[in-house]
């Protein structure tokens, strides 16, 4: 009996990190429930291409957050291993997207060329990821500063790759990646996120990557003394983030059918870091939970969609978003947490003394 109790307690602490994103997500959902219950309606309709598809705010939240969710997965690893954030993910995604389009435009678009283009996009993203990773792990530069280089020039490199234009790709296959595969009512980006999630889960299940990353993040010296190659782990986290950027870039390109180096995933780096923070991960490195970050990503998108549904102009959304973000992080702040736990303890103690007084009487 005692054993099972212990077990449940243990697993609870394991998932306690999910509390903050879940709480904020449910707050947003509750708010919508009171505001307008029809927000949650999901309808089956026929789109322009003649496919039966699912539509509704919930689907658009899940669909719209796809790139963010994929990036948040990689960013969590980098944050955990290096104790800093990569601010070049948007630029890197633009570079990967440019490569993707460049290969696609060089020949006829078939499944084979799409696969080839995706591999090339991944390769170039990994190369730039390794560049970032080398600055961080070998030259020991703080990640934010190291990635500032690519943040400054990444989108220009993408522009250069395109030869100074914003080329388009048109094909039903690209359309299928960006919106719907005929016959499947769920938007394809959601499926891609699920596939990425499964891959990440498998990696953590069957390799020691998760443990090593956490160790390096908590205490680098101790990790090195225990025989972990800290340089390699940091480098690897940046390479994985590179692949995530490539995936996000390809989704973004397929969605629009064109590459615009200036607007593709604009400001996504800030949202990604926010997703990691709302997910309750320490931005200083160490313990992490990828699923929590993904929940954070969906929270951000839910917030944005809610604001749009409330007819807030798209240019003003940022201000309202900022207020909600500050509320969320204030709730999650250590000082406020300590204050509430103290208050809770006092209340409990007050109740107990009250009981004792009663008993004594």
């Amino acid at each position: 009996m005692e054993k099972t109790a212990q077990k449940t307690k243990f697993s609870w602490s394991k998932y306690s990190q999910l509390l903050l994103p879940l709480l904020s997500l449910s707050l947003i959902i509750l708010f919508n429930l009171f505001r307008d219950p029809s927000f949650f309606s999901v309808a089956i309709t026929e789109n322009n291409a003649g496919n039966t598809v699912l539509t509704g705010n919930l689907i658009s939240i899940l669909n719209g957050a796809s790139e963010l969710a994929v990036l948040a997965m990689g960013m969590t690893l980098v944050t955990a291993a290096c104790g800093g954030q990569d601010i070049s993910v948007g630029a890197l995604a633009a570079i990967a997207g440019s490569m993707f389009v460049k290969i696609l435009r060089s020949g006829e678009i078939t499944l084979g060329t799409i696969a080839l283009a995706f591999v090339c996009a991944c390769a170039i993203a990994i190369v730039f990821g390794t560049f970032n990773g080398t600055l961080v792990s070998v030259f020991k530069i703080q990640p934010m500063i190291a990635t500032l280089v690519l943040y400054t020039c990444g989108r220009s490199i993408a522009y250069w790759l395109n030869g100074g234009a914003t080329p388009t790709v048109e094909s039903p296959l690209i359309n299928a990646i960006g919106s719907f595969i005929p016959g499947i009512p769920v938007p394809t980006p959601i499926l891609i996120v699920i596939i990425c999630g499964i891959i990440f889960a498998l990696i953590f299940k069957f390799t020691t990557l998760g443990l090593f990353t956490q160790t390096v993040g908590i205490n680098q010296r101790a990790a090195r003394l225990n025989g972990i190659n800290t340089t390699f782990i940091k480098l690897l986290s940046f390479m994985i983030l590179g692949v995530c950027c490539a995936v996000a870039g390809c989704i973004g390109v397929s969605r629009l059918g064109l590459i615009n180096h200036e607007t593709l995933l604009l400001d996504v780096e800030m949202d990604t870091i926010l997703a990691v923070a709302i997910g309750g991960n320490a931005l200083g490195g160490g313990k992490f939970k990828v699923s929590s970050s993904v929940l954070g990503a969906y929270t951000i998108q839910a917030l944005t969609t809610t604001l749009y549904a409330m007819k807030v102009p798209s240019t003003d959304v940022k201000a309202y978003k900022a207020i909600v973000i500050i509320l969320i992080v204030v709730i999650g702040s250590p000082v406020v947490k300590a204050f509430f736990s103290k208050l809770w303890a006092k209340l409990k103690a007050g109740k107990q003394t009250g009981k004792q007084v009663k008993e004594a009487a």
Binding site: I141, V149, S156, I273, A277, P313, D316, Y320
Partner: protein
């Protein structure tokens, strides 16, 4: 002289001086090369003044950011606050407000942001990146709420203030027609230079300035030595907010127009300038004079690239990125070499 030696023995200060020297040397070398190979505008003093005129606001913002970075934090809201100040002040003046109230408004908005950031970051212990990111979102969003349309200044008094320029004839040049064109400097530059001087003195001579270095270098030991870490951190964000407000006013004096995309990317430019100037993001190391030269270096690169024939639109930011990469790698290598040398010297002293 003895005092100088004592300073040299202290670790963080020597790092600061070394990085500052590197920056100034590279800036001078770069500018000299531009003068020799490109000639033209680079031979005139007006080129320097133009760089200052265009970047007075950036210099002020970067000063604030340097203080925050020395204290071990980061403030990425500065560009947003600057844009908000520009927009609000212009709308205020176009609706009949005076220059004086507009200036008060600029300082007030900056202080409000600084207060909020400082309180949330130092007293509620939330990560500075997230709070100032939210601050940036808020400021940018508020800018469009104040006015979505681009605004142009219509206030006559302010227009004359904008046109007022300080002329320095002996730094001018003789134009082709034979008449002397004096070097022109805007009032904003004077404000920026005064602020650089004030911040420099504050960091070097006052207790508050030294406390910034202390909490950035090692907040734990600063606390043990009796520094009020929370209050010092609070002040760093407050000053940064105030300076962003002033920068907004200076920016307005330069452009005279409000736009939702004003000062876009100013935060990253300011961070880059601080880094080029030898400020470390980890805190405890930095110098505001270095930041000043950092801004100049960054601008010089941007001026050299189109002048040397790389006219395609992407070259400017690619070379800027390359230069930034060069600087941070150089700093990292130099600092790690020094650390190694020091460790060796220590071992030798032991053995």
């Amino acid at each position: 002289m003895k005092n100088g030696n004592q300073l040299k023995r202290r670790e963080p200060l020597t790092d600061t001086q070394l990085l500052l020297t590197i920056t100034i040397c590279i800036f001078v070398a770069m500018y000299a090369l531009a003068m020799i190979f490109l000639g033209g505008g680079f031979l005139r003093f007006q080129q320097v003044f133009d760089m200052l005129n265009n970047n007075a606001a950036l210099i002020i913002v970067a000063c604030g950011l340097t203080i925050v970075m020395i204290g071990g934090g980061i403030d990425i809201s500065v560009g947003g606050v600057t844009a908000l100040v520009v927009m609000s002040c212009i709308v205020h003046m176009n609706n009949g407000g005076s220059i004086f109230t507009a200036a008060l408004m600029a300082i007030g908005i900056g202080l409000c942001f600084g207060l909020a950031h400082g309180f949330l970051i130092s007293y509620l212990e939330i990560q500075p990146f997230i709070i100032t990111l939210a601050g940036m979102f808020f400021a940018r969003g508020m800018t469009t709420i104040v006015s979505l349309e681009p605004q142009k200044i219509a206030h006559e008094g302010f227009k004359t203030l904008m046109k007022t320029k300080i002329e320095i004839p002996w730094l001018g040049y003789i134009a082709k027609k034979g008449n002397l064109i004096p070097a022109r400097m805007e009032i904003g530059v004077v404000i920026a230079l005064v602020i650089v001087a004030i911040v420099f003195v504050m960091l070097k001579k006052t207790r508050l300035g030294r406390n910034f270095y202390a909490i950035g270098g090692n907040s734990q030991s600063a606390l043990m030595l009796g520094v009020n870490v929370k209050r010092t951190r609070f002040y760093s964000y407050l000053i940064s907010g105030l300076l962003s407000g002033i920068a907004g006013f200076v920016f307005m004096m330069h452009t005279g127009a409000g736009n939702a995309t004003n000062a876009a990317g100013a935060e990253m430019n300011a961070i880059a300038s601080s880094i080029i100037g030898g400020t470390l993001l980890t805190g405890g190391v930095g110098n505001v004079i270095g930041t000043f030269f950092g801004v100049l270096t960054l601008t010089t690169i941007k001026a050299i690239v189109p002048a040397s024939g790389l006219t395609k639109p992407w070259w400017q930011s690619i070379t800027t990125g390359g230069m930034l990469c060069f600087f941070i790698v150089l700093q990292s290598v130099v600092l790690s070499q020094r650390a190694k040398k020091k460790a060796k010297a220590k071992e030798a002293a032991k053995g």
